[in-house]
Symmetry: C2
Subunit: 332 residues, 2 copies
């Protein structure tokens, strides 16, 4: 990239461009991590919405990720974009999920932001190649996709566009990691990235079931909440099926249930279960097991499920529940 990137330790003030549920959630998190935040949001009630969102998020942040000396008042709202990004060390864009709007906004951002500053976008599905098509310095634009609420969910998906500088993708991954996030760095642009593709597949099947009168919204939610949803915080879907295979693990699952992939359970077209796919999935689960036997993983899973089930009963809401305003850019 043209200008040298600054050290992650020197980021200092961060600009949040767009402050709906996601942009505002990012602002609260950046504040909790000791950064000053300058917010650009054209809405007349932006400041009031921000205050309510930060007040609602702060007690949660105090319990998990807050650094000493974090100042919940170290933020300002600006209606002028150049003023908002003046002197900042990083920009997080969280505007509404509208491609034309984001293309114009990134072009404006590029024109007013110092050349050595990286710009991350919270887009939940667009690729940076299409979003940054018109900017003069595409090399410093990268996707940093969070999950709702950004001040509590660790996952951030990081992926560059065709013209993003590789060192910028490296820098963003290192920055979000230093910020305390769980970063997935993708090597390729995939619409919807990873987690949203998976959520979307489940979501679409749920809509089909509601549409066909096969299940109610409550049944769909409870089927996940009291079922597979109790396992996924410990192990994702792959390792979960690996355990369902017993001692045989994923290999047993694929050999035993592979044929059922052809069954008409979902409207999702099934892939060909090739030897290569089978080998790749089995190897991936072996790697993910990281030396832990199926029995050890089961004991780990059981301990986690017990703890989750116990605490969900007494989990109390934190602080005063305040309306947080409209979603704006809606990462799901």
């Amino acid at each position: 990239m043209g200008a040298a990137l600054r050290s992650i330790d020197d980021v200092g003030t961060i600009a949040c461009v767009g402050a709906g549920t996601i942009g505002g959630g990012w602002a609260a998190y950046f504040l909790a991590r000791g950064h000053r935040v300058r917010i650009w949001d054209p809405a007349p009630d932006a400041e009031e919405r921000l205050r309510r969102l930060i007040d609602a998020a702060w007690p949660a942040l105090e319990q998990l990720d807050m650094l000493d000396g974090a100042d919940r008042r170290a933020w300002s709202v600006h209606t002028d974009l150049a003023e908002a990004v003046d002197g900042v060390g990083f920009v997080q864009e969280s505007a509404p999920e509208d491609l034309a709007l984001k293309r114009r906004l990134l072009e404006d951002l590029d024109a007013v932001t110092a050349p050595d500053v990286v710009v991350g976008s919270s887009t939940s599905g667009f690729g940076m190649t299409e979003m940054a098509a018109e900017v003069a310095r595409p090399e410093r634009f990268v996707v940093g996709h969070p999950f709702n609420p950004p001040y509590l969910i660790p996952l951030v998906e990081v992926v560059g566009g065709e013209r993003t500088a590789p060192e910028v993708v490296d820098w963003a991954a290192a920055f979000y990691t230093a910020l305390g996030k769980s970063v997935i760095r993708m090597e390729r642009e995939v619409p919807g990235f990873i987690a949203n593709r998976l959520q979307e597949a489940l979501w679409r099947e749920a809509l089909h079931m509601v549409d066909n009168g096969e299940a109610t919204v409550e049944q769909i939610d409870r089927s996940i909440r009291d079922g597979p949803g109790l396992r996924w915080p410990m192990h994702g879907p792959m390792l979960t099926f690996h355990l369902a295979g017993g001692e045989g693990g994923m290999a047993h699952m694929l050999d035993h249930f592979g044929p059922s992939l052809k069954s008409p359970w979902t409207r999702l077209e099934a892939p060909e279960l090739t030897e290569q796919l089978r080998a790749g999935v089995v190897a991936g689960c072996d790697a993910a097991s990281d030396g832990r036997s199926v029995a050890e993983l089961m004991a780990e899973r059981d301990a986690g499920i017990i703890a989750i089930r116990r605490l969900l009963g007494d989990a109390q809401p934190l602080g005063d529940a305040q309306p947080l305003g409209d979603a704006g850019q809606g990462a799901s």
Copy 2:
């Protein structure tokens, strides 16, 4: 149904027919709930596998669902089916997921089981109509589909076949509920029921992504584990999206992101987002909110995510991790 059903309080001894991961897990749970268990399993090592599975499950059961006076030794293994079901008040069938095998087994079970005894099947996808096609008393056969591990996951999907007596479906739903389970009673036979259809959609998309080199197994698991998976134990996918819509809730989500259902994010064919579907989903979320505002649900969600993230760090495996044997019937 011909014979009068016995009272749920008089079930007493339960027969577990098939004792792999699922059948054995059911046996451990029934024991923990104070029942005696008679197990039918033709495998020569069945008794040894059962002992290891029950030893591994017991410490977990002691922490959650065990009733006073539960006796971990109150079980016996039988190779003769008639002997296994002799004098029992309920039968849980958990044989391998093979339709021909299950049809023969249910026919044999029907012949040797007292007429007033209900038979529940752990099948993870077959309908009771096809499974009980050959039995003389189809009215007492019902699906009671658990999730792995059956001794910890609360969900049980209950659905009858075309010839199942409605009072038997009522009885099974009441029985599993009295047993401490979270019962979803389905009014229609749907292949894969509800949770497995949703899991399967996610699972298939994951396989496509691995197959296309779009994501690794580890990225797929972490994308759920550190992302949406931290929300689902509190709220299922529908209420989760309801919250992602901010104050506008699900209505905002559908109006704002409805068009993206047409985007090529998954290989799952998208349903037509009709006014009726929209209204049904919105109404379902309003009902699920049960008077709680979006802000209240957010505070509830946040408290839960904090607690889960905190405890997952210190969740310790319980007891000695012992291999639990092959999956046998593999509910996932």
